[in-house]
Amino acid sequence: MTTNILEMRGITKTFPGVKALQDVSLAVERGQIHAICGENGAGKSTLMKVLSGVYAHGSYDGEIVFENETVAFKTINESEATGIVIIHQELALSPYLSIAENIYLGNEQQTNGWIDWNKTNREASKLLARVGLKDNPITKVTDIGVGKQQLVEIAKALSKEVKLLILDEPTAALNDEDSAHLLDLIKHLKGQGITSIMISHKLNEIKAIADKVTIIRDGKTIETLDMQKDEISEERIIKGMVGRDLGSRYPDHTPHIGAEILRVEDWTVYHPLHHDRMVVKKANIHVKAGEIVGIAGLMGAGRTELAMSVFGHSYGAKISGRVFKNGVLVKTNTVTAAIGHGLAYATEDRKHYGLNLIENIQRNISLAALHKLVRNGWVDANREATVAESFRKSMNIKAPSVEAITGKLSGGNQQKVVLSKWMFSDPDVLILDEPTRGIDVGAKYEIYGIINRLADEGKGVIVISSELPELLGICDRIYTLAEGRITADVPRSEATAEYLMHHMTQERDKENR
């Protein structure tokens, strides 16, 4: 009698031309929290899709034993019926339906063939209580935050009598507060006997709650570490993931800081729909040539809103304030004008705002500066290809050619395409919004190297990030933003995570008082 709830043995899954999984084995003990980590493209998600029946039995080799029985799921419904529920990174809730409707979507609570709304809402309330949500179940999902939506997903899983809960990057879109709450909940569910598999990039979270961690690299299981038995450090996990010691997570960099190139004064932005809500409040920031400046703030602090409103008024309403470029007052009220004044903004949301996913690498890279490729009134496609090819090499974009469709690249490589696009536009100031979100450790290191290189070329770089260690690791100076206000401006030498967090939460404390 084994204590394992799940055993996957010798799983091999091939796609045309690629071996995504090769003889992968995974054993998950009942009632534990089992983390899976590995670089992007290592095969974590593929493994979970095999387990949950997204890839039907027969399309892969190997054996899956769940609760001591060999299972062969043909569809995701079959796996759910046995108690395996997967919550994907991109939440699968329908925004205009209520919480209760979402929880019972596909599993409607019926009496005599008609939906019983009282029962639906009553049962939903009970489930919400279990995940610590106090919201009314008839609230529309679009009206609650991402953090709560994640909890609704878990409530939905609980409604299906889940035995094994699979969470794919559950905290990727959450702020620290919501993340902490979610992790507590997973622990709490463990107390109720629910086993969890958690895919995560965030090593501190794995360290905080996981009992075991299995590391996957290049489609193979590397090792499974017992977090309780040995004192496993984050560096130890990273070593397993990248297959080498990453001397430091941040490349060394000596800044050469010159004159101020961009100054934003008294920048005030209102919400585009609620015109009485101020999102950015009289912010003042500046950046010098060769300087890497960080902006730290919790979710909802107005980081992206500040950046996008400066970049061609791409966000917000009733924008006021002044932008100075090299000491001269300039107008940046259209994206074209902003680009013309040497600004670039690489978005936090690559898929929706950064890339044309159905188009190839070459055409994505050229888009922001097509005019540079025009000869005799026509775009010179050959020069375009040459330019793109040189970026593919210098940025180490892993793709067979510049004709590859960007939608098929991994997150890290997509981010490199976005950065290439803006580097080709040859800006003086780059605003990078969460440049390493959803990117694995190895690619992160490369992105940091690129950021350093840009600064060394004399450009000003503004980095917006939720990860404080990242800001502390690469920035020369850091602003903190809280509730739309700049609350601190500290050089790296004086900054600590505690100091930053204190100023990031300052404004809230004041209001609470």
Binding site: F15, P16, A20, F311, G312, S314, T334, V335, T336, A338, I339, Y345, T347, H352, Y353, G354, L355, N356, L357, I358, E359, R363, S366, L367, A368, L370, H371, V374, G377, W378, V379, A381, N382, R383, A385, T386, E389, S401, E403, G407, K408, K421
Partner: protein
């Protein structure tokens, strides 16, 4: 061996384009056989081009609108409206035919600006605006014509729809010399352009299609042009609309593939947010696309009216659907961002040959509709299947 394999890989990637070509050829051969050779008779080829010209013209504008992620349901009504205006201007206001053509194109521009304004700057979906336009311009047509037909038109005007370039052989030669000259010229230009751009790519060290495939394509296209030249030259020569259509196809192909504007259209259709944040003036591009569509619809309206020698309140009914079908058969994506002008032309030709062949065979319109519907569904299903297979990760 490896070269052969890489050629095969390349062809697999081009499956859609090749499929479209093969489908066109297969349909031509099929009808050539079942109509006992009538399909490729010189007179029929000439008629085929002339009778489908306005749909092909509309398809050129429509494919651009669809690549940008929009749609235009109003073109059929705009065709009728412009035809009506041409009739009123020429027969009631006694404006010279050439001035009427210019004024009608301006009317098309205004129609496009009207619809483009609501779509681009006011933010109403194109489906709604052009659905409204479909009703509005049909109504305006009926008002302008007071529900009467207008006929006839002057010969010079009619030439735009059904005329031919002058016969330089004086009607005595077996092959009309001007057509032969134009056909040979087009072939030479095509080959020269193909070789030139291939050499340029080599110079820039850009990856290129495999040489055998390049040669097959070149010989094949050149052969097609020469065949059509031969057929036209042995009838009455070059239809004037073919010249118009040729200029539109070559011109807009270049615009879409090689101009900044064309690239912006693809970027807009592929991801509007990303395009806007990359400095593409998305509203202006959308506006200009609809202005362009208006002008092209006006041109189609002139050609159609000239061909029928009649301005009719019911003219152009359902043209928008034929044009849209041509675009989708030609490989454009419903979600925008994908499509080509030549694809739309081939799609339009496939529909045209189906119509023509089935008419020769005496197939009733009910079956013609049925078959066209299934062809459209099949073409798009093939696309979707292809996409799913290649993106099955």
């Amino acid at each position: 061996m490896t070269a052969f394999k890489s050629s095969l890989d390349y062809l697999a990637g081009q499956l859609r384009q090749i499929g479209l070509f093969i489908a066109l050829i297969a349909i031509i051969i099929f009808f050539q056989v079942v109509t006992s050779g009538i399909t490729l008779k010189p007179i029929n080829v000439s008629n085929l081009i002339v009778q489908n010209s306005y749909i092909l013209i509309l398809a050129v504008g429509m494919v651009m609108v669809i690549i940008a992620g929009h749609i235009d349901l109003s073109v059929g009504s705009v065709v009728a409206f412009v035809g009506a205006m041409a009739g009123v201007m020429i027969t009631q206001w006694h404006i010279p035919w050439w001035a009427a053509i210019v004024l009608c194109l301006i009317v098309g521009t205004l129609v496009g600006m009207w619809q483009g304004f609501w779509i681009a700057y006011f933010g109403i979906p194109a489906f709604i605006v052009t659905l409204a336009g479909m009703l509005t311009f049909r109504g305006l047509t009926q008002i302008a014509l007071q529900n009467q037909q207008i006929s006839p038109f002057p010969d010079e005007f009619r030439a735009l729809g059904s005329g031919f370039l002058p016969d330089l052989g004086g009607g005595t030669s077996v092959l009309e010399p001007l057509t032969v000259g134009l056909g040979v010229l087009a072939t030479v230009l095509l080959v020269a352009q193909g070789v030139r751009s291939r050499l340029a790519r080599k110079k820039y060290d850009v990856e290129d299609e495999p040489l055998p495939w390049f040669l097959v394509k070149l010989v094949f296209t050149a052969g097609m042009i020469l065949l059509i030249t031969f057929l036209l030259a042995s009838y009455r020569g070059t239809p004037i609309v073919l010249v118009v259509l040729g200029i539109l196809t070559v011109g807009y192909s270049a615009v879409m593939s090689r101009s900044v504007f064309g690239r912006h259209v693809y970027a807009l259709g592929g991801n509007a947010h990303a395009a806007a944040l990359s400095g593409v003036k998305t509203k202006r591009v959308t506006f200009l696309l609809f202005v362009n569509m208006g002008v092209i619809a006006a041109l189609a309206g002139l050609v159609f009216t000239a061909q029928l020698n009649l301005a009719n309140p019911k003219a152009g009914d359902g043209f928008e659907l034929d044009a849209i079908a041509a675009v989708f058969i030609g490989g454009a994506a419903v979600t925008g961002g994908i499509g080509t002008v030549t694809g739309a032309i081939i799609g339009g030709l496939i529909i045209g040959i189906l119509n023509n062949g089935m008419s020769i065979l005496g197939v009733g319109t009910e079956f013609q509709q049925l078959i066209k519907g299934l062809v459209l569904l099949g073409a798009v299903a093939f696309d979707v299947y292809n996409k799913r297979r290649s993106g099955s990760r």
